[in-house]
């Protein structure tokens, strides 16, 4: 972006909105929105409290567990659907329904199944993240050049070698794209799960802050969550860029 001939860095727009927030906050129009500076100060205080640290550990653990599960199950499932027609016919409809369904509605059911605890949060992350990973992996496997498969077969590749040396690598750009989108959805899953369960991790904190109208802390926690989601997406995008050179070079 350029303005009056000067190059404006991307972060500049963020700065503008922070200023707008500050001004609106200081005008005291809505008590729900304290000035940004106050939110920042609250954030600094918040990260020093043991309750935040404990909630963060709980949240990260549930998030990581759910993500690992959805990757470990989602990628092989996507490969299976991409390679085996009958598996695709059987599962395709369900994967598509779940990937576009309003999954928040299912979280209460998860609570009944898994109880009011971390298991439900893990299940929520899993349920939010897995479908896009399956779909993207499937698409990646579908787009592998048939001659690459023929090449492996003609040079005597065993079935395991075909999958581990060719299919997984050839589909890697799409698999990583799926994981990146899955991670973003997983953040949604962990937040929604915790909010609904309301006694675990950030959910408990959000509950406390909003019930007691501690808006600065409420917003501070929100900003931290958003930043976390952004950082995760950015990290995966970097990893994707490393394999993109060959995604573009594929025949």
């Amino acid at each position: 972006m350029t303005l009056f001939g000067y190059r404006i860095p991307m972060m500049a727009s963020l700065l503008v909105w922070c200023v707008v927030w500050e001004v609106v906050g200081r005008l005291n129009l809505v008590f729900l929105l304290p000035p940004f500076s106050e939110v920042l100060a609250a954030a600094v205080d918040l990260v020093q409290t043991p309750s935040w640290q404990k909630a963060t550990v709980t949240t990260l653990r549930a998030f990581a567990t759910g993500m690992v599960l959805s990757i470990v199950i989602g990628v092989p499932l996507g490969i299976l659907m991409g390679r085996v027609k009958i598996a695709d016919d059987l599962l395709g409809m369900w994967v598509n329904i779940f990937s576009s369904a309003p999954l928040s509605a299912i979280v209460p059911v998860l609570m009944i199944l898994f109880g009011f605890g971390e298991k439900t949060i893990v299940a929520a992350v899993f349920l939010f993240a897995i479908w896009i990973i399956v779909l993207d992996t499937r698409a990646g496997v579908r787009h592998i050049s048939p001659s690459l498969i023929e090449m492996a077969r003609s040079y005597g590749a065993s079935r395991p070698a075909l999958y581990s040396k060719i299919i997984l690598w050839a589909a890697l750009p799409e698999i990583l794209a799926g994981i990146r989108l899955g991670l973003i959805r997983g953040v949604k899953g962990v937040v929604i799960g915790q909010l609904l369960v309301a006694i675990v991790g950030y959910g408990a904190l959000f509950e406390t802050f909003s019930r007691n109208f501690r808006m600065a802390e409420f917003w501070a926690l929100t900003v931290i969550l958003f930043a976390f989601a952004l950082v995760i997406a950015e990290l995966i995008e970097r990893a994707e860029a490393k394999v993109e050179y060959y995604a573009g070079a594929r025949q």
Partner: protein, 267 residues
């Protein structure tokens, strides 16, 4: 010497002295399209045989059946007298679109056939380096396919096929995705390589000039259904300067003769 037309029509020919690949009664149908009907062919050891014909004559299908990549509906393929129905180490394939792994270096791509066979890393890389040099790509071992031109990529494909030390090299229109200048150079190299390597080449092409230029033997296929219409052995002396072949009388006559025969299939 004139090019000799050995036979007309699909009747079986008396087997040459040393046959490496025997094709017997191969037929293949896709849906209701008959791609190949009753193909009988013998490929002599140590020679370069081209399968030539207009598109739709099933030449690539036949090559992939010989490779074991496509299953025939009927008939048998025998290599060195043994019937085969799947890919095997005595055959190596060179693909029209190169089929290189974009995530792997030239070295790993060339060594991939040996990697699949479980050859140790040091040994397979040594062999791969030798064939990379053989096809004129020394110094490019650590490059990735997307950093190479089309012609260089196909040299990688050729080096990969050579490095597994197969008796029969199957080449599926290997130069069709390579630009004209590189193709000429590549064809010259192939003539040289064939004398050095003492392997049997089966070469699919739709270019009459290419077939006559490089082949010891040309199998003409006619389309719909694909069948053998003629076998030609262009008797061209390839020992000297490869450039000279293009001006050779026999070369020009054979090209013309084949064109006259194929003309009827071109709409």
């Amino acid at each position: 010497m004139r090019a000799t037309a050995l036979r007309n029509g699909p009747s079986p020919v008396s087997a040459p002295i040393d046959t490496i690949v025997e094709v017997r009664g191969i037929s293949k149908t896709y849906g209701n399209v008959e791609a190949l009907r009753g193909i009988d062919l013998d490929f002599p050891r140590g020679k370069l045989t081209s399968l030539l014909g207009p598109s739709g004559c099933g030449k690539t299908t036949l090559l992939k059946i010989i490779a074991g990549l496509i299953r025939a509906d009927g008939g048998t393929i025998a290599i060195n007298g043994k019937t085969v129905s799947a890919p095997g180490p005595e055959r190596a394939f060179v693909f029209q679109d190169f089929a290189l792994m974009p995530w792997a270096t030239v070295l790993r791509n060339v060594a991939f056939g040996l990697e699949l066979r479980g050859t140790s890393r040091a040994e397979r890389e040594e062999i791969a380096r030798r064939y990379i040099a053989e096809v004129g790509l020394a110094g490019f071992e650590d490059k990735y396919p997307h950093e190479l031109s089309g012609g260089m990529r196909q040299r990688v494909g050729l080096a990969r096929a050579l490095s597994v030390d197969a008796d029969v090299l199957l080449l599926d229109e290997p130069f069709s995705a390579v630009d004209e200048q590189n193709r000429r150079k590549f064809q010259e190299d192939l003539i040289r390589l064939r004398t050095n390597q003492n392997k049997t080449f089966i070469f699919v092409t739709h270019s009459i000039e290419e077939a006559v230029y490089i082949s010891d033997r040309i199998v003409l296929l006619s389309p719909r259904p694909g069948r053998v219409s003629q076998i030609i052995e262009p008797e061209i002396d390839r020992s000297g300067d490869p450039e000279r072949i293009h001006r050779d009388r026999h070369y020009l006559d054979t090209v013309d003769e084949i064109w006259q025969g194929l003309k009827q299939y071109v709409e």
